[in-house]
Each structure stands twice: as structure tokens, then as C-alpha cells.
């Protein structure tokens, strides 16, 4: 324990957010480091390598203004811990969980390691409680369940913020009244966007249930690596120690990944695709896998990460690696947004993998799964007809194709499209779906059980023969 508390003066090298300190003893891997600049400012960092020559430290607030001779480092003997407390609800924190809203400090002594521990797979409970977001495209076609991680893949300038705010406002478990909290995590967010969220939480009175962790665009990028971890540490505390259902909104994961790339570059690591580090998959998994339910615990953590796809490219490493970890994705489309459709959710590439056990009789409605799968294949058909139309015109289409065209247009206008304040029940959503499906001939509805067609398909005049 020789190193603890001892202060070392001078560092042997500085490169990007990385510093090396020589002749240090008794330091552990991953240990927290306090770094004092020559002006007396304190920054934090962590040990990312120890060797006989030197200790390598990653400085969260960056190394701007550090001098090789005057910098002082102190090794704290434990890894980074953040305070956790219900007092943090209704408050605004920085990436270390310290209040930055001008209100008093927290009274709590409770602290937790920001990295948490990996959840034992055998301790997980399979998520299956349907969350009604009131947004038809999500509830009907990519349903969210408690304990799921379901990201929004957006593009710069698309209406993901409005959608996220609407979901936070409307999300509810049907027939249940259990404690519900939001942890909002901003990474590299602009002040306007941060204000948008704050206002939207205030307007609905939700703010007292929201803990906001802010790392804004002008905060040090390296700190962004901590922000989601600090927020999730609180979420785990609320969920597993305070029995609360927590919805974690994280935006923008793209900024997070860029910070990761910056650190990796400074360490001169061999980069993987587009310069992002080869371990980005594991790193993102250490964040996303903190969603879930735990056997024997009342609370849950549901994650809704938001990311903007560079160039709207879904194969870019950030959406790609995210999609490989999360349990589906909600994809926004510039094309739909241009047509004035809100929310511009493109269901073809959207998916909820946990939908299967969260819907159906007892949770939503018996016909839900069938209807969703019919809508998916019909909409795919619509899209291929639409691309045919651009070449041969509508006249060249057969009757069946024309019916698909009509269906698709109605589907986009009535089911996908809805008001920003409009909160639809799942029954309303499914009824709208049946209306759209009634544009198709009945024998096309092969994904739906005949008894449901009988029961739910609106009878049109032509059918009453």
C-alpha cells in the first residue's frame, strides 16, 4: 500500500489524454489517480497500465495545460467510485456524480464503483413486461419491454430528441403503478439539446423523477467515457437497491465512441475499422449489458441509447457494433422525415428482439404478433412495388401490386405518423393496423390466423357479398 496518499511530482511523458509517471510503487491496475495541474486544479484519471518502468494514466479531463515538471499525481488506492442516492433524482450531475445545478451537495455516503460488475447470466430474469410508449410504430412493431436495451439509430438533424422526450413522457406499464425513474445521460450534447430535454421534463412534472448526468459539447471529451458509467451506476442502485424501474436514456453514443477513439489514438493502439479501437465492441457491451432484470429484485433497467449514424450509414462501426449488442433497434429515416412523417421510424430495418415474449394475450392483445408480422412483410412488399413504380409507372402494375401500394401509403400516414403529444393505447394501434391491412385482399393475410381475421378485420362493403 506504499503508494497511497503519496504525491509524485513530474510526469515523464504526455500524449493526448495519457500521461506516464515513473518510479511509482504499489499502484494497482485500474486505480484512480488525482492529477494536480500547476495552477492547483485537480483532475482525475485512472491507471491503464503498470509496468516496472512507469505507470500509464488516462486523464479524464484531458491534459491541456499540464506541464511535465509541475504536474503532481496522487494514487488513490481504489477505482473510481461515484455517489449514489435517491437525492440525485430531480438533480443535475457531472460525470463524477457531483451536483452542478447550484443546489447543495448530497448527504449520502453511499458510493459505488463506476464500472460495476458483470451480471451473472444465471441471475438474469428474462424481460417480458410490455412497456406502452404510446408511439404506434414502437408499440405495434418493435415493442419495448422492461429490462431491454433498445437504441434509436438516428441521423444528424432527425427528430430523435422529440421521440425520446415523448417516450419518457408517455412510457408506462399497463395496469401497474410502480416506482418509475429516468436516468438521463448526455454525452457531448449541445446546450440547446440539453435544455430541450430539461424543459420537456419540467413541463410534464417528470423532472423530480429524473436524474440528469451532463457532459456537454464543451466539456472534455475524455470525461465522456465516464458519464454513462456514472449514470448506470446510479441506475443499478435505484433498480436493485431501491426497487425502482429505471429508464436510462443515453445520448449521443456517437460522441461517446469518438471519445473512445481519441483515447485509443493517443495510446497508439492498432486501430480497427475507421480508426475505432478493436475493443469497442467489448467496451460498448460493458455499458449496454448493464440493462436487464435480476432474479429476486423488483426493479429493472431499461436502456434507450440514442446515436446519430455518420452519413446515415447503418454499417458504420458505431451503429453496427451497437446493433450487435442491443436487443434490436429503432431506425429513423431521413426519407420519411422529409415526407413530414413523425416519428420517421423506418420499420423495415427496425426490430425488437424481445418483443416475442412481451406481447400477445394477457399483455397486449392476442392478434398482436400475427398483425405485426403481416405488417412487416406487407410493408416490405410495398417498398419493392414502390421501387418498381419509379421505373415502369403505376400503370404497369398488376392488381395485387396496386393494392400493396395503397396499403403502404395508408400505413405510413395513419399508423407510423402520429402527433408529438398523441399517446395511443396498444388497442388503438392495432385497430389502425387492421384498417390499413383491409386494403389488402384477405388471402394475402397468410401470417394471420383465420380466427383473428374473422374477429378483427373491418368488414368492407365489397366483402358482404
Amino acid at each position: 500500500m506504499a503508494g497511497i496518499g503519496l504525491e509524485y511530482k513530474g510526469v515523464s511523458s504526455i500524449s493526448g489524454p495519457i500521461i506516464m509517471v515513473e518510479n511509482v510503487k504499489g499502484v494497482g491496475y485500474d486505480e484512480l489517480v488525482s492529477v494536480k495541474t500547476q495552477t492547483g486544479e485537480i483532475r482525475l484519471g485512472k491507471v491503464i497500465q503498470v509496468s516496472q518502468k512507469a505507470v500509464t494514466v488516462q486523464v479524464f479531463e484531458g491534459t491541456t495545460g499540464l506541464s511535465p515538471t509541475a504536474t503532481r499525481t496522487r494514487f488513490l488506492g481504489h477505482s473510481l467510485e461515484v455517489p449514489v442516492s435517491t437525492e440525485m433524482l430531480g438533480r443535475v450531475m457531472n460525470s463524477y456524480g457531483e451536483p452542478i445545478d447550484g443546489h447543495p451537495r448530497f448527504f449520502t455516503d453511499e458510493k459505488r464503483d463506476v464500472n460495476g460488475y458483470p451480471l451473472n447470466p444465471t441471475a438474469r430474469e428474462y424481460p417480458k413486461d410490455f412497456i406502452q410508449t404510446g408511439v404506434s410504430a414502437i408499440d405495434g412493431l418493435a415493442s419495448l419491454v422492461r429490462g431491454q436495451k433498445l437504441p434509436v439509430f438516428s441521423g444528424p438533424g432527425l427528430s430523435h430528441n422529440e421521440l425520446a422526450a415523448q417516450i419518457v413522457r408517455q412510457a408506462q406499464i399497463r395496469n401497474a403503478n410502480e416506482p418509475f425513474n429516468v436516468v438521463f445521460i448526455a454525452m457531448g450534447l449541445g446546450h440547446d439539446d440539453a435544455d430541450f430535454f430539461r424543459k420537456s421534463f419540467e413541463e410534464t412534472g417528470a423532472i423530480k423523477n429524473v436524474a440528469m448526468f451532463l457532459n456537454l459539447a464543451d466539456d472534455p471529451p475524455v470525461e465522456r467515457i465516464l458519464t454513462p458509467r456514472a449514470g448506470l451506476t446510479l441506475a443499478e442502485y435505484l433498480a436493485y437497491e431501491e426497487d425502482s424501474h429505471v429508464l436510462v436514456v443515453m445520448t449521443d453514443m456517437t460522441n461517446y465512441c469518438e471519445a473512445l477513439r481519441e483515447v485509443s489514438a493517443a495510446m497508439e493502439e492498432v486501430p480497427s475499422r475507421k480508426g475505432y479501437p478493436g475493443y469497442m465492441y467489448s467496451d460498448l457491451a460493458s455499458i449496454y449489458e448493464r440493462a436487464g432484470r435480476v432474479v429476486g429484485k423488483k426493479g429493472s433497467i431499461t436502456q434507450m441509447p440514442i446515436l446519430t449514424m455518420p452519413n446515415d450509414d447503418i454499417t458504420h462501426p458505431i451503429p453496427d457494433l451497437t446493433g450487435y449488442i442491443t436487443e434490436g433497434q429503432i431506425v429513423l429515416s431521413r426519407n420519411l422525415e422529409k415526407q413530414g412523417i413523425y416519428p420517421p421510424i423506418y420499420i423495415t430495418t427496425s426490430l425488437s428482439r424481445l418483443m416475442k415474449d412481451g406481447i400477445g394475450k394477457g399483455s397486449t392483445r392476442e392478434d398482436h404478433a400475427n398483425v405485426a408480422s403481416q405488417l412487416y412483410s406487407a410493408y416490405a412488399q410495398y417498398n419493392s412495388v414502390k421501387s418498381l413504380v419509379t421505373i415502369i409507372g403505376e400503370e404497369g402494375l398488376g392488381t395485387r401490386d396496386k393494392e400493396y401500394l395503397r396499403f403502404g401509403e395508408r400505413f405510413e400516414k395513419t399508423l407510423i405518423n402520429q402527433g408529438k403529444m398523441e399517446n395511443r393505447t396498444i388497442e388503438q394501434t392495432l385497430d389502425i393496423a387492421w384498417d390499413a391491412l383491409s386494403d389488402l385482399p384477405e388471402e394475402e393475410l397468410t401470417s394471420i390466423k383465420p380466427e383473428y381475421i374473422q374477429k378483427y378485420l373491418p368488414k368492407t362493403d365489397t366483402e358482404v357479398k
Partner: protein, 589 residues
């Protein structure tokens, strides 16, 4: 005599130590005051590089490193089936009992329970000369699995003592062999180094299909018992669902499911559903033939690298008992990335996309451990291992190294396709780019067990799908209405094949498993329909009259409407199809 050294560098999962001149390459070591489990992966004089399988947070210079004298090994004995292990075979249920819902260091936990008693039923006779692999006796491990306790590999001699039928723990002596005049005691518990393939007597040809109950696989791109397959596909294309379907319904004796760097919830899905699902042939819960190796994406990356070997070593052990084992690895890309991450920390020279240059040889070694073999031992037992590896190519681009190299070492390629998955065509196995190298080897089985026309029908169906593919390019330019009716019929039949045959809903209680007999009958109905319809179209029937036939909707619904045990209904349907076409033909006269 084990080595004792000390830590001189810590960089994540890679630790360097000195003072280990007495250890050997790939020796398992205990690192630091907490005794973290590691493996020596480089040895130069007294300096060793160690891959540590547990988090190294807090590890300091000069902490001790102790050799264990043996390589990273699996424990083999009754108690494996139904269990859940991490990548280095630590039992996750037992760890949960000690450290709670989150995984923390739990020292001294063994893979298999040492206290539990199993009923041992001796079968070998005292006085017999036994060799490694010979069966000493059996233990009913689960209702589905008879565990055959074998003479450890490498041991041979006269059986001088064998335990009488009764209950024993896995560490009690159950047999004694006289080896070179000395007594060698044998327990049920044996160990085997994970990175070393277990030997066999002879490799045999694979001629029996692994029946999976998935139509596109069994009928079009079949895999043999003892075969190897790759399932590459972008995220959300259906790799995991396909692997789980195979784990559920395939007719293997033993299933080993390796969750390698994937989601925790997918493991729970298996743990929740398998005990409730019943094996279609025996009626017992599927969990009674399944072992789970779960090293999820948030667990240490180096143990992820080991998980594949742990899985295949367990598979070999059951193969040696004479079983057909199916191993699923989801996803081998995460394994390759683990290899890359460790290689990067070793500052090795990267080859393609940062992967180490030994990536292809490691993949080859892994798939080489599959196959049908005559096992060790004096009786003629055969066993097999079939491995199915998911591949997760970045951006869904199959030209990347892991997909390309896996393709070289596997004989079946089920290419999952984003476009099909987006259109909710599941399983999204692309019938144009997928292939199976076993068709000729397995045709005999289908011929003898299902129908002699199997291969004829499957080739015919494939031709229709190929013709559709070519016509589609024309349709894209002129629209379907511009084609002659005979060609539109091809489009129509292909559509029926795609929706009514190739698409198979894993979530539908009936469609989730389709017996080989049902598969063949369904295929026959569609292909026969095509020929008959082609006949009437040639005689001048307009195509819309064909598509409007009432039997079309029955054909579209047969997969989920007709259960596997009511195939007579398919025969009725076949008759209805003939009648419908005849009626149409009559109306032309």
C-alpha cells in the same frame, strides 16, 4: 514442484511476470493475491506473458504468480449436463450462490460438484485388459443421457478392482487398473487440457444428416452429423435464433451451446425455455441433453477466447462415449476479436484488419476437431461432433477475414442476408449464396429413410428458384405484367416456395419444427403443382386463374396448419390440388 514468480507488468488481461523459468508453455497459473486464473501464452527465459481470465482491477507489481503444474483443463464427469459454465468452466450457478447476482472473484469453486453422489453401474469385468477409452461402467446422468465412464486416455492395464453398483461421488475411486505392476486408481472425475484434441482410433465419413427440422437447412443445405457449418450474417439477421432452433430440435444426443461474447438475455432465454421444451423423439426436457458455456460480452474477454475450447473439449468427451454431439458457437467473431485484443496487448505484428496472423490456423484447428470417428477403446463405438459457428462480420460484409477463413474450414455455408431479414423472410438463409458440401453424402439417407425422389425434388425446386432470380432482373425493368404467362408461373411458384416452404417461423408452435417426412411432402406438393399448372397454362389457362385456385391458400398455410403427426392432411391437400387443376383444365375445353 511448481514455479513461483512475480508480476512485472499489468495491461488489462495481459500480465507479465518474472521468475517463471520452471513453468511450461500454456501452464495454468494463479495470479496475484486473489489467485486470478491465467494461462502462460509466451515464455522467454524467466519472463512469462500471461493471459488472465478474470478482471485484473487492483492487481499490483510484485504480487505473486504461482504455477499449477498443469495446462488449462476441463473437468469431465457426471454433472456436466444441464450445467452453465463460464469460458473457463467455472460453474455460474455456484458462483451466484457465493457472490450474488454480480460475478466477483470466488476462490476455490470447482467446475463439478465433489459431494453429489451418482449411481455407478459397473460394466467392465475384473481381469479384463483395458485401454484408454474402454467403458468401465455407466451413470444415468439425466433421463436422456447415460454417462459412460471411460478408462482415462493414456492408461492401460488389467482391471483388478471395480466398484460394485452403488452411489459414489466423482472423486471416489471406482476402479483400479494394474499398470506395469503398479496400481492405478480411477475416479469418475478426469481432466483434459482444452487446447489439445482428444485422440480417436479412426476418422470416418459423414453419411447421416443432422436433422434440424428447419426446411431450408434439411432440404436445401443439409449438414451431416460430424459436419461443420458457418452462419455468417449482419446483426439481427437470425444467427442466434437459427442456432437456438438447432439446439432445440436437432436430433443430436448432446448439445453444447457456447455463448461467446454475446448477450446475457439470450443465455437466460435458453435457461428458461429448454427445461420446458420437450425433445420431439424422447419427450424429455431438452435441458437434459444440453450444456451451456456462457461467456457473455460483458465478461472478461480472455475467458471468451477460452470458451470455444472449453466447449469443444466437452464435446469430444461425449463423442468418445459414442454420442452424436452438436456444438453451437455464437459468435466465433467475438472469439476472434478476443484473440485480436490479446494479440494487440502482446504487441504482435497484426495481419489482416488487426487480427493476428495465426487466426486462420486457430480456426482450422477448431473445425478440425469436428467429424465422425471410431472412438478409442476396444469395442467399436462411433461418435461425432458437428460444429456450427455463427460469424458476425462488421457491417455485414462477408469479405472480412473471419468469414473468409471460416468458409475455408467449414463445409456448409448458411449465408444470412439483411435484405431477407428486413423483409422478415426468416430464416434469412439466402438460397443463392448458401451451399452444403454434404448433399451427395446424405442423399442416400434421404433415399432410404424418406423418399427416393428426395434429391430430384430438391433440385427441381432449386431450378425454379434460380429461374426466378434471373426473371427478377427483367421484372425490375419491365414489370411482371409484361412477362408471358409461363414465366409468370415461375414467379408465382417461386413465391410459393419462398413463403410456404423456405420461410419458417421459429415462434409458431407447429412450424418451429418440421419433420423430414413433412418437408418432403410439402416440397412435392409445390413442385407437382408447378408442373401441373405449367401444363394448363400451356393449354391456354390465364395465369390469374391459376393463382386464384382455392388450394393456393391451403398451400400457403400448410406449414403452420398441419402438424407433423397429421400428414394424412397433406395427402388430402395434394388430392385437392390435383382436383383444382383438373377442374381448371376442364373449364378450358
Amino acid at each position: 514442484m511448481t514455479a513461483k514468480g512475480s508480476v512485472i507488468r499489468v495491461a488489462g488481461p495481459v500480465v507479465e511476470a518474472k521468475g517463471l523459468q520452471d513453468s511450461v508453455m500454456h501452464e495454468m497459473v494463479e495470479v496475484g493475491n486473489d489467485g486470478l486464473i491465467g494461462e502462460i501464452i509466451r515464455l522467454e527465459g524467466e519472463f512469462a506473458t500471461i493471459q488472465v481470465y478474470q478482471p485484473t482491477t487492483g492487481l499490483k507489481l510484485n504480487e505473486p504468480v504461482l504455477g499449477t503444474g498443469s495446462p488449462l483443463s476441463v473437468e469431465l464427469a457426471p454433472g456436466l449436463i444441464g450445467n452453465v459454465f463460464d469460458g473457463i468452466q467455472r460453474p455460474l450457478e455456484s458462483i451466484r450462490q457465493i457472490t450474488g447476482p454480480f460475478i466477483k472473484q470466488a476462490r476455490g469453486v470447482t467446475a463439478l460438484n465433489r459431494e453429489k453422489k451418482w449411481t455407478f453401474n459397473p460394466t467392465a469385468k475384473v481381469g479384463a485388459h483395458l485401454i484408454g477409452g474402454d467403458i468401465l461402467g455407466t451413470v444415468q446422468e439425466t433421463d436422456l443421457v447415460e454417462h459412460r465412464v471411460m478408462v482415462p486416455i493414456g492408461l492401460q492395464g488389467k482391471l483388478t478392482k471395480i466398484a460394485s453398483k452403488g452411489d459414489y461421488t466423482i472423486v471416489e475411486t471406482i476402479a483400479t487398473l494394474e499398470v506395469d505392476g503398479k496400481n492405478a486408481d480411477v475416479q469418475m472425475l478426469q481432466k483434459w487440457p482444452v487446447r489439445t484434441p482428444r485422440p480417436n482410433t479412426k476418422r470416418l465419413f459423414a453419411t447421416v444428416p443432422l436433422i434440424t427440422g428447419q426446411r431450408v437447412i434439411d432440404t436445401f443445405f443439409p449438414i451431416a452429423k460430424g459436419g461443420s457449418a458457418a452462419i455468417p450474417g449482419p446483426f439481427g439477421a437470425g444467427k442466434t435464433v437459427t442456432q437456438q432452433q438447432l439446439a432445440k430440435w436437432s436430433d443430436a444426443n448432446i448439445v453444447i451451446y457456447v455463448g461467446c461474447g454475446e448477450r446475457g438475455n439470450e443465455m437466460v432465454d435458453v435457461l428458461d425455455s429448454f427445461p420446458k421444451l420437450l425433445d420431439p423423439t424422447t419427450g424429455h426436457p431438452l435441458m437434459e441433453r444440453t450444456i451451456l458455456v456462457a461467456n457473455t460480452s460483458n465478461m472478461p474477454v480472455s475467458a471468451r477466447e477460452a470458451s470455444i475450447y472449453t466447449g469443444i473439449a466437452l464435446a469430444e468427451y461425449y463423442r468418445d462415449m459414442g454420442y452424436a454431439v452438436a456444438l453451437m458457437a455464437d459468435s466465433t467473431s467475438r472469439w476472434a476479436e478476443a484473440l485480436r485484443e490479446v494479440s494487440g496487448r502482446l504487441e504482435e505484428m497484426p495481419a489482416e484488419e488487426g487480427f493476428p496472423s495465426y487466426l486462420p490456423s486457430r480456426l482450422a484447428e477448431f473445425y478440425e476437431r469436428t467429424g465422425v470417428v471410431e472412438t478409442l477403446g476396444q469395442d467399436d463405438r462411433t461418435g461425432s461432433i458437428c460444429a456450427i459457428g455463427a460469424v458476425s462480420p462488421p457491417g455485414g460484409d462477408f469479405s472480412e477475414p473471419v468469414t473468409q477463413h471460416t468458409k475455408r474450414f467449414t463445409r456448409v455455408f448458411w449465408a444470412l442476408d439483411a435484405e431477407l431479414a428486413d423483409a422478415r423472410h426468416y430464416p434469412s438463409i439466402n438460397w443463392m449464396t448458401s451451399y452444403s458440401g454434404y448433399i451427395a453424402d446424405l442423399a442416400g439417407w434421404w433415399h432410404n429413410n424418406v423418399d427416393e425422389k428426395w434429391n430430384g425434388y430438391r433440385e427441381e425446386a432449386m431450378r425454379i428458384l434460380q429461374a426466378e432470380e434471373e426473371l427478377r432482373n427483367i421484372v425490375k425493368l419491365v414489370g411482371p405484367e409484361a412477362l408471358p404467362d409461363k414465366q409468370r408461373l415461375i414467379l408465382e411458384t417461386a413465391r410459393v416456395l419462398r413463403i410456404a416452404f423456405l420461410q419458417q417461423n421459429a415462434l409458431d408452435p407447429i412450424d418451429t419444427y418440421c419433420s423430414p417426412q413433412k418437408q418432403f411432402k410439402m416440397l412435392k406438393i409445390i413442385v407437382d403443382f408447378h408442373h401441373l399448372a405449367d401444363g394448363v397454362v400451356s393449354k391456354g389457362a390465364p395465369i390469374f386463374k391459376v393463382t386464384e385456385l382455392p388450394v393456393m391458400e391451403d398451400i400457403m398455410r400448410m406449414k403452420s396448419g398441419i402438424p407433423n403427426d397429421q400428414l394424412d392432411k397433406l395427402e388430402e391437400l395434394e388430392k385437392k390440388m390435383h382436383a383444382n387443376i383438373e377442374l381448371l383444365e376442364a373449364s378450358l375445353r
